[in-house]
């Protein structure tokens, strides 16, 4: 069962509410003797941290991670790794409105209908704060995958305004507040988000995550497919409404002759695919090409515009979010998407080893 756990052999269990004393996770199944310290995790958390630009929520906390178990003298021991972050910026503000009124498009009401109770402070368990632990666990997953596998992400669309593939430069991602790989698009987005912020509105976004260096053979038919687990992992991120692999929905518009990735051979016995419509996955198993996935993040429902809503007593009311406000939650979803991709790959790497003890790191033809 998986209420609050994700993965099978590389298994992450998260806990914590936005305004509780702390949030944390347990990462189980990490192989022994991998060098790991807080310094391997902190940079990824810093990347996700709010308050870093005017385009994301202004909550201010250091998000300092501590490793509480599973590492001894700088090496993993094969026992569960507990990661822990104190919540330091739980502003004591007036929650009486949010406690009683359900914001349209927010999990407030479904938690209430399901459980009859919820920690409403800052969104409680449904807060994007939980994703900090995904990023922390993702940093551990990267260590399990090793340096051969490189995982990167970028924001590729804001409110329907897409980056130009011709202008894609991974270096640009580090330069702007949007993780945007296209400098021209970044400039347009900046202008647009300033307007939205002024209007108290928000906007959706699409994120692309890519893993290079993944060996062929990861994934397991029929229900443990790599893309199936990836879809589950990405769809479980707050506000995500869609996931696609490779050409995704675009593939539905193609003919078979246009969509198939033709193959030639590399001199080293690996397959030289001539295109990557498949996004690196065929039949649920990695091909050896880059794994490419995209996911759509809806605009946050916490906006300054008044909206028709209901309250806990079943009365019709209006709600309007006050205070800190995130015009595009999709921005901070970039490092979270990377983390989920890392976690899924680490899990499947361990699963592959279990069933294929002689699994080569790079499969070649002829196979035997």
């Amino acid at each position: 069962m998986s209420h609050n756990s994700f993965g099978h052999l590389f298994r992450v269990t998260t806990w914590g509410e936005s305004h509780g004393p702390a949030i944390g996770c347990v990462v189980d199944g990490v192989p022994p003797r991998i060098a790991l310290s807080e310094a391997d995790i902190q940079p990824w958390l810093d990347k996700r941290r709010p308050g870093q630009s005017k385009f994301v929520t202004q909550r201010q906390e250091p998000d300092q991670v501590r490793i509480l178990s599973g590492v001894f003298e700088g090496l993993t021991t094969g026992t569960p790794i507990a990661l822990h972050i104190e919540n330091t910026d739980q502003r004591s503000k007036d929650y009486s409105e949010i406690a009683e009124r359900f914001r349209p498009g927010h999990a407030d009401i479904t938690y209430e209908l399901k459980y009859g109770i919820r920690d409403y402070r800052g969104g409680g368990r449904s807060s994007a704060r939980e994703t900090a632990m995904r990023v922390a666990a993702g940093a551990v997953a990267r260590k399990v995958l090793g340096p051969e596998v490189r995982i990167r992400g970028a924001l590729v669309s804001i409110g329907g305004d897409w980056v130009d593939p011709a202008g894609w430069d991974w270096a640009a991602v580090e330069e702007n507040a949007f993780f945007c790989p296209d400098r021209a698009a970044a400039a347009r987005w900046e202008e647009r988000l300033l307007e939205l912020r002024k209007a108290g509105d928000s906007v959706g976004a699409v994120i692309e995550v890519v893993a290079d260096g993944v060996p062929p053979g990861l994934g397991a038919p029929i229900y443990g497919k790599l893309d199936s687990d990836l879809a589950a992992g990405l769809m479980s991120i707050n506000a995500v409404k869609g996931v696609e692999i490779g050409d995704g929905f675009g593939a539905a518009a193609l003919t078979g002759s246009a969509n198939a990735d033709e193959m030639r051979m590399n001199p080293d016995g690996t397959v030289a695919y001539q295109s990557n419509h498949a996004g690196g996955i065929l039949g649920g198993i990695s091909t050896g090409q880059p794994i490419v996935a995209r996911f759509a993040v809806k605009p946050t429902s916490s906006i300054l515009t008044p909206r028709a809503a209901v309250d806990r007593q079943g009365r019709e009311v209006e709600v309007q979010t006050k205070g800190r406000h995130d015009p595009c939650v999709g921005i901070r979803a970039v490092p979270v998407g990377e983390a989920m991709l890392a976690i899924v790959l680490a899990d499947h790497l361990l699963r592959h080893r279990a069933q294929n003890p002689d699994a080569p790191s790079v499969a070649r033809l002829p196979r035997n």
Copy 2:
């Protein structure tokens, strides 16, 4: 672990290859004392069965299901239900080419790279034949959900040609060979597919599945979200490359004010949502609105056009599929998508009961 199982409390394990003696599944966790017979399952299998029109593969088999356990005197007993279908149309044809050459865009090569062996006859385990067992298990899931929950599906796009929402008529779905809810689109598609068939090519498609009557409260944060499990289930279907819930990728182009589903009250204490951008799921939990999901199916890679490929010996070759050919595998994916939606909902209904023994079938406000 979930190599070949799906679901947790309503749990389906499938087995079988396209050209083995039989295919089957075990459905575990079904509550006792539910009326069930082959007659409850067979109609759904008939709907999925190939050979019913010139637009789907011409494989001919009755797909007659047998219940081998778990039902006694017409009622489920709470013990595992084994479902069994003989394979009767395993044509003895020459497989020497497919045994040696990998079709571009097909799982042939990834199975080989992963396992070093594969049953290549008719696609073996990676054949869409496996989906017959999903449909059979889905029929059992429908019985668990009861008559209040209605699950339907439709093909909404072929090769980028979409149905017109204004022309949507569920009755039309039963009338044409495409499960198409728009009669005008169906006419266009017929023409297009005849051309593609002549050209020996194929085309992708998008399917929409909808569940009405789902009570609020199904789904479990954070990693057992209803949409996360639905994404995994739909993405695990053969050839699926994208999944979206509600407005899906469209939501990424909206502003928060446009996307939020405003709320009023119904006289009976249930919430009257004013729109359904969310597709019936907020925070991973059902809202009580219809659950709406779409998934993209790529065009089949088995086409009559020659393509550059490689063989098991690592030689560069050409492949060209011969014989039976499916111009749009997306058509038969409609009943399969319905089945996966039914399975996910049945699983979450049982999960919800476990944690909420007093769960009302329809949640009202005030909750307590």
Copy 3:
């Protein structure tokens, strides 16, 4: 979840009732390219089969196993292996009494209280017939473990009459109807069981199972311990009421100085344990010594002596089993116990490989 599945990476799901059309199981997670045919499985089933001596139930069926999937041209493919046995000896007898009356000490009543329905014919799902599929799956597990691991079992006590360790001869196990390793005990048991059979009574037994050649390192703290899984597996066998590892309950009577297994070194760098009180497991992980487990089987409750009971209507009645009768169900539990040991070890072998890709088949000191 695990209603009808056992194991994680080597995963067995069984289905079927005593008097349904068939019983079967799905074995998932088997590594690819292992030679496997019905001939590898049938001998173990023949060993368990009833009707082979006057001391076990006289049900007569060939228990002919068929492999329906997961094997291609004599080799496993990494996909799920479906095993299938037809039920051929479902005598059409009068079940009206057993349908209405609950036998004392039998699962009749608990199935009824839990589910409100049960297939009462021959015990339905609670019949020992289910254990045939464990034996079949155990045969596959042996293939996964390879020839280095040898798993054997013996009956070591009937009704409190124990074998003499000094008289233990594995060869004797094959010579008598009891799988008894002590020829003198076998002679005593024969006499005793003839008397019990005449009296229409039954008796309990203790079985010991031993695995030689298990490498050190299998098992995973804290809840995936090898002994914990073994306890679950053995306790799940019909009529088992106790499980112990190594000295087991005897260890509770020892002092620490007597119980500790002292260590010296073998010339090859492996540890030479001076005794095996631990039964080959320390801290839940295999030591490299033989794994030794014992389990207690209660006497069957289906006896010819009338006993006070109740019926479905809540009336006080008497019951007395008629027809085929098994004076010591513990005898046939020997191959079943072996099978469960094989399944647990195969599962842990795969689990160990996942987390320890460089796991040596025999660990030596110094470890690195």
Copy 4:
């Protein structure tokens, strides 16, 4: 997978080493709106805490538990509950000997052989300190079970010296340092343990745990049996080598006529069993009688007597434990055994509700 998690719907994941900064657990699946605070948990921890008598380890720590998530305004919210205990008594002592030498009968060597690394300080992950989190989680499980279910435990044998069933008084358990229900035995044990302590030796023990008020119907055939899960749970406790249910190994010495629990009816429609050889479980499902289980704890291997051992370099050495020493680890296993019983029952209560939404708290005949 279950390396460090136990249970399915009531699911406990523990982490932490003896001498790390803290230990903790995540309890997932707890139903919402149950009153819970640290005050519900602390008393059970206090009962288990070391340093309370001269017969258990003298480690001194307050073991103060904190709830870090999942509880809001005194009620559970249905989200994961994180429990946290700081380690305060990590004496900075010289670990050089224990770091290099493997104690006979201790998990030192198997952790080393499996992982090639271990946190040797105080036993690290293999320390009985982990059981504090089981006790904490068990306290939560008791709240889930409600006041109708009463779970108690007692030490019934030390070094082969058993309590007299005729002298059993539950009140006595609270009065002595051994959780002994027989005052005469407690007096004998005190004398014996003082001698053992002086001799620097240790001794094994047997614990009995009993649950009253368990409704019939908990447990699920075939592999999710209540006794199977209980066996796994108890066997996973440090140093446990045997588990039995009801008469356990004693049942193997009985005839069927002696062992069957005859049945009469209570006036309220529940079954009046005339004995409880079965220990409250038939066919893996609770009967409604008290659940009775016993488990054997071996003598601790940390003794002051020198023993032949080996070191990390593969050299033959002698080891002799120094410092704090626990003459009978079985004593503190009593509250741990109670906790595991509570956890297994809570898990099965939730599982039963999932499959049987109309499950009566007490099943009566006729069932329908």
